[in-house]
């Protein structure tokens, strides 16, 4: 899109990741006009191409199914400065290894100067949640009061909100993603649920390994484990099924998990939630548009237009490094909202 082109919409969202997808879908259902700027490729109608890429990949790592391809035909890492919107690969973590060198900016998308590399990856379309495990643990109430609970640790902060503020929202998120869990099992360390709450699906059955570990824990004695200084007998440790955004029965037109053992990098039957599901739903509302291969590199806020709630204008054009600019934009917007006494919502993105 040329820089002079102007698109008018109610809400512009930078990045078609987990949060962007959910927000776009809710707004689309409310008939708001939404434009998502996404640095990566278009949302595919199904995951067949992702599966083909995964099956053909010689090294099956978290990002294997997804684009852009960062290796050239000879198997060498492409120069990130020659790609529009590149990304890191965990394969370059092996320093001087067979797959590239994370210390070389001609090979590594992330410029890293520390002694250790960023030991993960993140993706464009659908974000890192394209290849997540589906783990949907709620925070426990104490997580929101870390400074109060552990005053000796200067890094800890208290949240401006607490568990009870989020209780209903957890429920909405669990319904959207389709979480399988056992309510009674999840009531630990103060986690509680609204009256009558039910997880969308029953828990995922425990694996043989789960059962073996559970049995082993029960058979341990105080004497065998006192070196751990746990202050309570290990026999009290319970092995629970992880709440997972993975279908234990058909849910929202998606199948039950068939144990493909492949949540990361990709569930071949989409029994595990990923944001392309919500993105496709959002597109189906008819009010959401995704501009793929668009990197937001400047956000121009029109205060009058925004405050009037009618117009939000953004310009996009030259591609640089999307994620860094997104972070800058987030700060800029945060400052703006703060100055205007609006609620500030920041996304907690693993990649930034």
């Amino acid at each position: 899109m040329a820089a002079e082109t102007c698109i008018e919409c109610d809400v512009a969202i930078v990045g078609a990741g987990f949060a962007g997808a959910l927000i776009a879908n809710e707004l689309g259902k409310a008939r708001k006009k939404v434009v998502i700027l996404e640095a990566g490729d278009p949302v595919p109608p199904n995951i067949n191409d992702f599966m083909r890429r995964f099956y053909m990949a010689p090294a099956k790592v978290p990002e294997s199914p997804y684009t852009p391809e960062v290796f050239d035909a000879a198997g060498n890492l492409s120069d990130p400065s020659k790609m529009n919107a590149g990304r890191p690969t965990v394969l370059s973590l092996l320093r001087k290894g067979g797959f590239g060198d994370w210390t070389d900016p001609k090979q590594s998308y992330l410029i890293q100067k520390g002694p250790r590399p960023f030991a993960s990856t993140y993706d464009r379309l659908a974000g890192g949640t394209a290849h997540w495990l589906g783990t949907c643990l709620r925070f426990v109430p104490a997580d929101f009061r870390m400074k109060t609970n552990y005053p000796s640790v200067p890094q800890f902060v208290d949240w401006p909100i607490g568990y009870d503020d989020l209780n209903d929202w957890y429920g909405k998120a669990e319904a959207e993603l389709g979480v399988s869990a056992d309510l009674e099992e999840q009531k630990f360390l103060g986690i509680h649920f609204p009256d009558g709450y039910k997880y969308p699906m029953p828990k995922i059955p425990r694996s043989l390994v789960d059962v073996a570990v559970s049995d082993a824990l029960r058979s341990l004695t105080e004497n065998e484990t006192k070196f751990l200084e746990m202050e309570r007998p290990p026999t009290e440790i319970r092995v629970r099924s992880l709440p997972a955004a993975r279908n234990s029965q058909p849910y929202k037109n998606r199948r039950a998990c068939a144990g493909n053992t492949n949540c990361i990098p990709i569930c071949p039957i989409q029994a595990k939630y990923d944001p392309t599901i919500t993105l496709n739903e959002a597109l189906e509302t008819g009010h959401v548009e995704i501009l793929d291969r668009h990197v937001a590199n400047e956000i121009v806020v029109d205060p009058l237009g925004f405050l009037a709630g009618r117009r939000y204008t953004c310009y996009c054009g030259r591609s640089v490094i999307g994620s860094v600019l997104c972070r800058d934009c987030a700060q800029e917007m945060a400052d703006y909202f703060k100055a205007n006494h609006h609620v500030v919502i920041r996304s907690l993105s693993r990649g930034l």
Binding site: N46, I47, N48, D49, M51, R52, F54, Y55, M56, A57, P58, K60, G98, P205, R206, S207, L208, V211, S248, N253, R254, R255, A256, C257, A258, G259, N260, T261, N262, P265, I266, P268, I269, Q270, A271
Partner: protein, 232 residues
């Protein structure tokens, strides 16, 4: 899918005819979300069979593969049936297999394209091996007699187990050179279908990552015995 490496529940598995299995496969493919199957199958198109290949060649290729991999022929090539004759297997009456996945054809084409002459020798060795309980050992012994046949046989074993191609010259370099070049350990995945049909994890009573033919909750039960997977 008729080549399931694990037993179906007895009540369902018994008495199934091949065409019913084909039907099951089609339904599975059509079911919403069966992307694994469709991705694997649709992209798995291969070159047209080499003109030289006969039905007999395919029977010999499956017999050779069974001997080299230790996996039952009817598991490698569902529907495979060796009809005995007075002296040996009747290659005219035997059935090379009829499964819709047909990975054997893709593998035959692949090897035939890469190493046609040596493949011919391997098939001849298979044909010349006597009918007996130690047919497999006889094939293995003869295959090892020359480096060409020995290392192509290794490539074929790796192909069946991993769905990937390790060039026989590279395998020879790895085995025989004191300092093999780094590229000697390189390989290529033959096709999406080949990856999904690899035997390495089925021998371990499991399945390739991202291609489960099992059902919800199987992880809570002990796996079926290995013989159910590999047929031997």
């Amino acid at each position: 899918m008729s080549h399931l490496p694990y037993p179906r529940p007895k009540s369902i598995a018994q008495g199934k005819k091949e065409d019913e299995m084909v039907g099951a496969f089609t339904r599975r493919t059509v079911l919403a979300g069966a992307a694994a199957a469709t991705a694997a199958m649709s992209v798995g198109a291969v070159d047209s069979p080499a003109s030289a290949q006969t039905r007999q060649d395919m029977i010999l290729f499956v017999l050779l593969s069974g001997a080299l991999t230790g996996i039952a022929e009817a598991k490698l090539a569902p529907g495979f049936r060796a009809v005995p004759s007075l002296t040996d297997i009747d290659l005219e009456k035997s059935e090379p297999g009829s499964d819709p996945v047909d990975i054997k054809q893709e593998y035959f084409n692949w090897v035939n394209k890469k190493r046609q002459a040596t493949l011919r020798r391997l098939l001849q060795i298979t044909k010349d091996s006597p009918k007996s309980s130690d047919r497999s050992q006889a094939i293995i012994d003869k295959v090892q007699a020359t480096p060409d046949t020995k290392y192509l046989a290794r490539s074929i074993v790796l192909m069946w187990y991993l769905g990937a191609w390790y060039d026989p010259d590279n395998l020879r370099a790895l085995a025989e050179l004191p300092n093999p070049p780094a590229k000697a350990s390189s390989f290529e995945v033959i096709s999406p279908k080949a990856y999904t049909q690899g035997w390495a994890l089925r021998v371990a009573q499991a399945h390739p990552m991202g291609f489960s033919e099992m059902q919800f909750g199987y992880w809570a039960r002990p796996p079926s015995p290995r013989t159910d997977f590999i047929g031997n």
